[in-house]
C-alpha cells in the first residue's frame, strides 16, 4: 500500500501539473548564488570565504517554496482521509511524504550545488564539505517542511505563516551546517546529522497529530 503512495507523492511533487514543481526551488537556489557576487563584488577571497554560507542560506530559503503544495492540496482533495480510512496512520503517510519531499527537493538542490560552488568560486575541498553538510542537513529540512506544512495546512494565509515558522526552526541546521565549512569543521557535519536525525524522527508524529487535529 505504501509503495504506490510513495510513487504518487514523488510524481506529484516533481511536477504534477501544479505550480512550478521541483524545478522552481532549484532555480531560486541557483539565482541566489548567481546574484551574490553581483551584490558583494568579484573579490574571489571574500566569495570563497562566505560562499558556503550563502549556499546554506539559499537552500533554507528555497525550502520555503514547496511548502504550500506539500500537504494542503491533498488534504483539501481528501487523500489523507481516504488513506486514514484504509487503516494507514497519518504518521505513515506523512513519513512517506517526507521521503518524497527529500527526493524531489533536496536531491535536485544537492545536484545543483556544484554549479553554485563554481559561481561562488569555492574550492573543491569546500565543495565536498558543503555537499556532505547538505547531505546531513537536508533530511532535517525536509522533515521540518512536512511538519510545518501539516500544521499550517487549511489555515488562511498558511503559506506565508509556514515560511515564517520554518526559518527559526531551521536555525540549528544552518549554524552547524554552515559552521562545518569554517570553525567547527568535520564535527559540524556530525552535529548537523544529529539535528537532522531528531527532526526526521519527530516530524511524522508532529505532522500526523496536526492532520488529525485539523479534522476536529
Amino acid at each position: 500500500m505504501i509503495w504506490p503512495i510513495l510513487k504518487r507523492d514523488i510524481a506529484l511533487l516533481l511536477g504534477g501539473g501544479r505550480r512550478g514543481g521541483a524545478l522552481l526551488p532549484v532555480l531560486f537556489f541557483l539565482a541566489v548564488a548567481m546574484l551574490y557576487p553581483f551584490a558583494v563584488g568579484p573579490d574571489a577571497k571574500l566569495l570563497a570565504r562566505t560562499g558556503g554560507g550563502v549556499v546554506w542560506v539559499a537552500a533554507l530559503l528555497a525550502a520555503i517554496l514547496p511548502l504550500d503544495r506539500l500537504i494542503e492540496p491533498d488534504l483539501e482533495a481528501g487523500f489523507f482521509d481516504q488513506w486514514a480510512l484504509r487503516g494507514l496512520a497519518e504518521e505513515w503517510t506523512c513519513a512517506v511524504r517526507m521521503v518524497a519531499h527529500w527526493l524531489t527537493f533536496a536531491l535536485p538542490l544537492m545536484l545543483a550545488t556544484p554549479i553554485s560552488g563554481v559561481l561562488l568560486g569555492l574550492s573543491g575541498e569546500q565543495m565536498m564539505t558543503l555537499e556532505l553538510g547538505l547531505l546531513a542537513g537536508t533530511p532535517g529540512l525536509a522533515a521540518l517542511g512536512v511538519a510545518v506544512a501539516a500544521v499550517t495546512a487549511g489555515l488562511r494565509g498558511g503559506a506565508a505563516l509556514a515560511g515564517l515558522l520554518i526559518m527559526p526552526l531551521a536555525v540549528p541546521l544552518l549554524i552547524f551546517g554552515a559552521g562545518s565549512l569554517s570553525a567547527v569543521g568535520e564535527g559540524g557535519i556530525a552535529l548537523t546529522a544529529a539535528v537532522s536525525l531528531v527532526l526526521v524522527a519527530m516530524s511524522p508524529f508532529a505532522a500526523g497529530a496536526a492532520l488529525r487535529a485539523a479534522r476536529e
Binding site: R8, E76, A77, W83, R215, E216
Partner: protein, 198 residues
C-alpha cells in the same frame, strides 16, 4: 470480500461543532444487507454523523463500533485532477490491490468507460461524482458510507446509484447514505436526524 459479517453500530452518539450541539442520543445498528438513509435539512449534521461513523471525527459522546472495511464517498473525490481518469482511478486500484481489469469493469458500471483518457479536471460535476463513486466501489469494502451521492447527478445516474446500492446490499454489504433528496431503494430504512436534534 470480508469473511466476517460486516456491521456498524452507533450508541448514544452526540456531535458538537463549535458551540452547537447538533444531535445527541443517536443510536443505530446495521448488519449485512441493511441500507440506511440519513435524512434531514442542510446543516443538521448528516456529514458530521458520516464522519463520526467512519471514525474521522470523534463523537462528543457515545461510541461507534464497526466490523469490516469501509469505503467513504464524500464531496471530495480524492482523484488527481491533472491525471486522466483512468490513471487517477488506477492509483486507488494499486493502493487497494485491485486488478486493472476490475477497474474497467467498474468504470463501465458507472458509465465512465469512454472517459478514461480525459483529465479529471475536465469532467463535469456529475461525472466527477460518478468517478468518486467508481473509486468507492473499486475499494471492494463491505461497508459503504455515501455522503450526498446524488448531488449533481442526472436522473439516469440517480437510478444507477440506487441500483448499485440495492445490488451491494443484496450481496451482503451494508450502506449508509446521506441525502436531502428522496432515495428510491427497496428496503431502505430512514433516519431523520432532526428527531435527535439537541
Amino acid at each position: 470480500m470480508n469473511a466476517s459479517e460486516p456491521s456498524l453500530r452507533a450508541q448514544n452518539v452526540a456531535c458538537r461543532r463549535g458551540d452547537r450541539l447538533l444531535f445527541a442520543r443517536l443510536s443505530l445498528a446495521l448488519g449485512p444487507g441493511d441500507a440506511l438513509h440519513l435524512a434531514g435539512a442542510n446543516g443538521i449534521g448528516k456529514s458530521s454523523l458520516m464522519r463520526i461513523l467512519c471514525g474521522l471525527l470523534r463523537p462528543y459522546a457515545g461510541k461507534v463500533e464497526r466490523d469490516g472495511a469501509l469505503a467513504l464517498l464524500d464531496e471530495r473525490p480524492a482523484l488527481d485532477t491533472h491525471l486522466p481518469l483512468g490513471g487517477a482511478l488506477a492509483f486507488w486500484g494499486r493502493v487497494d490491490g485491485i486488478a486493472p481489469a476490475r477497474l474497467d469493469e467498474v468504470a463501465d458500471t458507472v458509465g465512465l468507460g469512454d472517459l478514461m483518457d480525459v483529465p479529471v479536471r475536465y469532467l463535469s460535476t456529475g461525472q466527477r461524482k460518478r468517478a468518486a463513486l467508481a473509486r468507492t466501489i473499486l475499494q471492494g469494502a463491505p461497508i459503504w458510507l455515501l455522503d450526498e451521492p446524488l448531488n449533481g447527478l442526472d436522473t439516469a445516474s440517480v437510478a444507477m446509484v440506487e441500483r448499485l446500492v440495492a445490488q451491494h446490499c443484496a450481496g451482503g454489504g451494508l450502506c449508509v447514505l446521506a441525502s436531502h433528496q428522496p432515495v428510491g431503494v427497496t428496503g431502505l430504512r430512514r433516519l431523520e436526524i432532526a428527531e435527535f436534534a439537541a
